[in-house]
Structures are given as structure tokens and as C-alpha cells.
Symmetry: C2
Subunit: 356 residues, 2 copies
């Protein structure tokens, strides 16, 4: 166990500086916007409207909007390097962008990846891209292109970084931006497959400080998998079940908001789906985070609130739905293989997530 | 001057391994393709066809194809770090992707960027994004989103990497893929603004081995700018003049092929625009590469052919055009501010660039 109490900031990540930067760069981004860029209220992905207004797609889009976003996998790539396991971080890469796309109501169309590395080792690069392709298959999108850059002076031997880019399409009138969220709506949470792709700077710091062994099996964590294998479990991709739910309820529009739970945790992501006059009141006792979270908390001596700020704590994706349909949506998602929890309700408030 | 003769491979870049990898990953990419992904003959960018067939856009697209690609800036980012100049590599980033997009006949729609870095320093990140926004403005596209990842264990202090993603649209019937290139067509070359964004591993090796000073003015290079400033000159963006030429000749379709000259040089990029039964016969005496190339060649003791394999050698973009229209296209491009050279002709051959 670490001697001193550990924090995300202590592991090297400065969230405040990131927020400050976002504010600073927005005006540069705004300079490039034409009338085709749609307003982004805490959006998870960028929305770009094409210039037309007629009945179009065979898939029944009248006013299709292209939705695009980009993300990386963070320090999880370094864990992959340490374990010598390269074929799953590509799934994480796709998941990070595609799970953001679907939050806006889009269905994924295509994906591109960027790999920066010390040296182009074909075998290893192929394993990485295999994972990316696996993630694309899971998301029903095409891996349309990619770039691998050999930067021997920038990346240390054996190291690499990954960036991914996804484009999807959404019917203009059906974009989900949280504006239709109402008091009384129900918050459904879909379980994560562990830590997903955020907080790994802290995870790795815990492993280091508590001198844990990535190659050891810790029975309280998993009876067969090593710690490293557990930590490399790929991010769950919610695209197929979510696209299916939205398609099934496309007329009734009973899903009012959604959130992909990434860095910032439930409190720092579900709030992005809320209008300014609503809170989401969440009951943390209704689900039990998988053992990996307790394991890290114990060995890192991490405060409970810090855990909820850094990690998804077992819930990877949220839907805010009309109360009359909560049960049927939950059943549809469960039939698609999701583990669903009724996390709480939308109440009067000021755009925050609060715990009950 | 370096004691031993220097090569790109010697500077750490293994082109063969890259080619090998491309072959290996293609089958993984193919697994994810549906009928909407168009065939890619040496394509510079991926093409994704939307499912429709009706008159659509106000901009007169009947069968719009989304065109997407990704690229980075390579080791030029490290030069930016060494010089402490961060606000132009973003232009390079946009240029690398957007110049690829337009090769297929697309007009750029939007762009997203990924920055991986040791530490989120708002001021520096803002300067980087400013450059990205500048590049987007020059390309008439929207900076639709981005991601900045703080990876303190992966990137050394002060270091960062950049990846960019661009999406454009092209009329299906007007995609330029080299299939219409004919014997007798003329090759026009547009001058580059120096080295652009390829070959910087070699550039930096030359600076190191020949103990050049980035902060010194070398009069044979530039009378006022330092070596570092000359080397950081942003990549020229050809989007606006090329889109205008294509629009002007949209009915006659007199542009049969195009190429963005990046890593691999003229010989390794113009060939991608050629059908298998044609060669491009290029006369190297018709233009004079800017002084920076001779300077690097001299100080690095680099073989002439190696220079042409690694660098653009003064030509950043090529058009293959019908001979009757070569003059008028050249004039239009010159009026738009380009410096144009008649590089040579298309002759019978086997898909290669040859020198006369």
C-alpha cells in the first residue's frame, strides 16, 4: 500500500489546466465555424450539417448531420507495452470515440487511426490495428484509413501513442443534446467492463507505489487472470445496443439524454447531458463496482470521492429516459447483453449530478 | 559537415518495414468494409459513399462521397519544441491531411486534431491549436473538435505529438483516381514552401551531426531568418486554388490526376496518380529547389537521389492535365498565388516516375 494518500493530480494529471485550455482554444475553433457547424452545449462530439433539405438516404435520413470526434487511449497504451499485449488497445481506441458519437444519437459510419511510435515494427503495428478493426466491427463502422508515424526521437524504444477519429450520421431533428430532459425522467446505467480507458496514470502510479506485480494473479480480483490482464480488459462498446434502442423508439423519442462515462467519472460526464434547470439524483447503492475498483482504492489508499471523480466506478454509459418506458428500454438493453441499473431520477436543480 | 554519408534510413526511418506493415494491416481493414467503402487504388484518402442517389446539396452534389484522412507532422514537432515556436506546426498538421483530401477531388469540410503531451500547458496548447485553426481557415474547413491527452510517462517533459483528421466531400462521378490519365497529359508542379512536414528525422540528424546552430542566420539560406525559423516554415496548403480549378473545369474535367508530394518525394507520390500503363517523365532542370535543400544536402553530405526520395525538393503538389488546357490552368493557379512549373509529360510505361 502507498504510504501517502494518492490523487489523480498527484499522478501527474492536472484537470484544471485542461479546463482552462478548453476555454482558451474555443475562440480559435469558433473562427473556423461556418453556418454548417451546429451549436455544441457540452457536446461529446462535433456536429456538422450538410447543405441539403430533401429526402435522401435509403436509411431514411431527411436532414443528415455528420458527427465526428477524436480521442486516444491515454496511459493504457503503456500498460499494453509493459504486458506485451497489443491487440486490445485498438478496441479501446474505437470505443472511446464511438461511445462519444452515439451520445448525440448518431450511428457510427467510419473510423481512422493514428499511431505514433519509436519504430515501425510491422508485427506489433498489425496487432494494434487488428484491435482497431475488431472495435470497428463491434461498432458496425468501417476503418477507412490510418497513419503510422515513426518518430524515433520522440517516443522511447518500445513506446507508442494512439489517436482515433470517428464519423457518424444523425437525423437533424433527432440529435440528442439533453434539451428534452425533464424532471421525473429515469437514469439508466449500463455496466462497464472495468476501468475502460481513463485514469491509467493513476492506475500505473498505484501499481508502482504499492509494488504490485502485473504478472501475478490476485484472487480478490480474478481467479485466473493476472493483474495486467484485468487492467487491459477492453472498453465496452455500446454502439450496437444504443443505436438499436434509438431506432426502435425513433418516433416516440423516449430517450432524452445520454452520457459516456469517461475521465471525470459519473459526476463529470452525466452532467453534460443535463439542462441547466435539472439535476440527476443518483443512488450509489444500486450497483456494485467490479472488484478492480476496490482493489485499486485499497492499494492506492485513494479517497472514495476521488475514485468517483477519476474512474467510471462500474457504470460506463447512461441513458436518461421517460419514466413510462424505463422498464421496456432496460429489458431491450438486457436482451442485447447489457447489465442495466436504475441509477436514479432527474429532479429540479442546476445542471449537476448529486448523490442520494 | 557530417563525417559519414547520411541517409534517411540512417536517421532512423525504415521505409520497407512501413510498406510491409501496410500490406499486413490491409486485410484487417478490409474486414470492416461494407459496400459503401470505395476501392482505393493507391489512394491518398479513404472514400465513403453515403446511401443515396438523389439530387441533394445546394452545392450541387448528386452522389456526395465523404473523403477522410489522417496524418501527423512527424519530427517537425520536435524542432518546434527546440525553437520554442508552437503556433505554426498546426498549419502543417492541417496541410498534411487537407492536401491529401484534395488529391481525390474533394473539397475539405471539417478537421479534428489530437495532441498528446507530457503536460497540459494551456498557453502552449493554445498556440498549437491556433496554428490548427489558421490552417483550417486557409483550407475553408471547420475545426470541428479535438482532444488533448496528458501522458506524463509517455512523453518527455516539453514534448508532444500531433495527429490530424480531415473529412471532405466529392461528387461520386468526379472522384480523381488517376484512371483518366493519358499519354500526352502534362504534369504541372506547384512549388513548395520549403521542406513541408516530411524528412525531419533526417533534417535533425544533419543539424546534429554537422553541429549547425538553429538560432544562427546562414546567409546562403536566408538573410534574416535563423536556420530554425527557415526549417519551421509551414507546409503550403493547396486546397483553395485546387478546389477552385476543379470547380472551374467541373464539366470539362481536364485534370486527370493529382499528387501531394510528401515522404517518398516526387518519385514516391506522383506514381500513385498514374495508371499502370503510363509513366510520368519529369525534367528536373525546369525548376530550382529552394536553398534549404542544397544547404541540407551539403551539410549532411547526402546523395542527390536520396534527397529526391526523402524531400519534396521544391515541388509540393502536382496536377496531371490535358495538354490543351495546361496553359490556362497554369495561369489560373498563378493568379491564385501559386508558382507553377511544367515538369514533364505522361508517356507509355508501367506506372513509374522517370527522370529525363
Amino acid at each position: 500500500m502507498a504510504k501517502k494518500q494518492m490523487t489523480y493530480a498527484g499522478a501527474g494529471v492536472d484537470i484544471d489546466a485542461g479546463d482552462q485550455m478548453v476555454t482558451m482554444i474555443q475562440r480559435h475553433m469558433a473562427r473556423t465555424y461556418g453556418s454548417r457547424v451546429l451549436g455544441r452545449h457540452g457536446a461529446f462530439a462535433g456536429c456538422f450539417r450538410l447543405d441539403y433539405n430533401e429526402k435522401l438516404f435509403k436509411r431514411n435520413y431527411r436532414d443528415p448531420v455528420l458527427v465526428a470526434c477524436t480521442d486516444g487511449v491515454g496511459s493504457k497504451v503503456q500498460l499494453a507495452v509493459e504486458m506485451g499485449l497489443y491487440d486490445t488497445v485498438g478496441i479501446d481506441l474505437v470505443a472511446m470515440s464511438v461511445n462519444d458519437l452515439i451520445v448525440q444519437g448518431a450511428e457510427p459510419l467510419f473510423f481512422l487511426d493514428y499511431i505514433g511510435t519509436h519504430k515501425l515494427e510491422p508485427q506489433r503495428m498489425t496487432e494494434i490495428v487488428k484491435g482497431v478493426a475488431d472495435g470497428c466491427v463491434q461498432s458496425d463502422c468501417a476503418l477507412l484509413g490510418g497513419e503510422t508515424a515513426e518518430l524515433p526521437d520522440l517516443y522511447a524504444e518500445g513506446e507508442f501513442d494512439l489517436a482515433g477519429f470517428a464519423v457518424g450520421v444523425c437525423e437533424l431533428k433527432k440529435i440528442i443534446d439533453g434539451s428534452r430532459v425533464e424532471r421525473g425522467d429515469v437514469v439508466l446505467g449500463l455496466e462497464s467492463d472495468g476501468i475502460h480507458s481513463n485514469g491509467y496514470s493513476l492506475v500505473r502510479a498505484v501499481v508502482r507505489e504499492a509494488t504490485l506485480d502485473l504478472n501475478q494473479v490476485y484472487v480478490e480480483l480474478d481467479e485466473r487472470k493476472t493483474l495486467g490482464q484485468v487492467l487491459l480488459t477492453p472498453t465496452r462498446i455500446y454502439a450496437r445496443p444504443i443505436v438499436d434502442v434509438l431506432h426502435y423508439y425513433r418516433v416516440k423519442r423516449v430517450v432524452s439524454g445520454m452520457a459516456h462515462i469517461t475521465g471525470g467519472g459519473l459526476g463529470g460526464n452525466l452532467n453534460r447531458a443535463l439542462p441547466s434547470h435539472c439535476n440527476a439524483k443518483i443512488d450509489r447503492s444500486v450497483w456494485r463496482p467490479s472488484p478492480v475498483f476496490g482493489f485499486l482504492q485499497k492499494h492506492g489508499n485513494i479517497d472514495e470521492e476521488e475514485m468517483f471523480r477519476v474512474f467510471n466506478m462500474g457504470i460506463g454509459y447512461c441513458l436518461i429516459v421517460r419514466p413510462d418506458f424505463a422498464n421496456s428500454i432496460a429489458h431491450q438493453l438486457e436482451r442485447a447483453g447489457e447489465r442495466v441499473h436504475f441509477l436514479g431520477r432527474i429532479v429540479k436543480g442546476d445542471g449537476k449530478v448529486c448523490w442520494q
